[in-house]
Symmetry: C2
Amino acid sequence: MLAKIYITLKKDVLDPQGSVIANSLKSLGFNNVEDVRQGKFIEIKLNNKDKDDAQKQLGEMCEKLLANLVIEDYKIEIE
Amino acid sequence: MLAKIYITLKKDVLDPQGSVIANSLKSLGFNNVEDVRQGKFIEIKLNNKDKDDAQKQLGEMCEKLLANLVIEDYKIEIE
C-alpha cells in the first residue's frame, strides 16, 4: 500500500523559504499571492496488509524520524 | 483561497534523499518499508475570486518557478 505524508511547519513558526517563494512569485507578476508556506511530501510504499497497523507504524516513523515535532506537524493518508 | 501544490520527482528520476530515508527507516526497525520518494508540498494563499483563473495562474507559477519540469511533476489542488 502507498502512504502519503505531509509535513508542514507549525503555524507560528517562521518560514523564510516560503517568504522567498512568495517574493519571487510577486516579482514574476503574480500579485494575487498573499502567503506561501513550504513543507515536505513523502510517499512511502509499504508491504503491510493491515491498514490500521500501517497507520500506527507511519505515526511512529513521523515521530521518530520524519518530522521534528517541536516545529512541524504531520498528516498521514493511506491509499 | 488556499491552493496546495505537490511537486514530485518523475518516476524514472533517481531520488537519493528518498533512499536515505528508506534506509534510515529500515535501520530503525521498520522492515515493511519498500520504497520512499520525497517531494515538496507548497501551500499558497491567493486573493483570487475565480477558481478557474486561480488554477491557470497556479499552473503558470509551477511552470515558471516552482517545479523543474525536466525532472519533476506537479499537482494542484484548490480548496
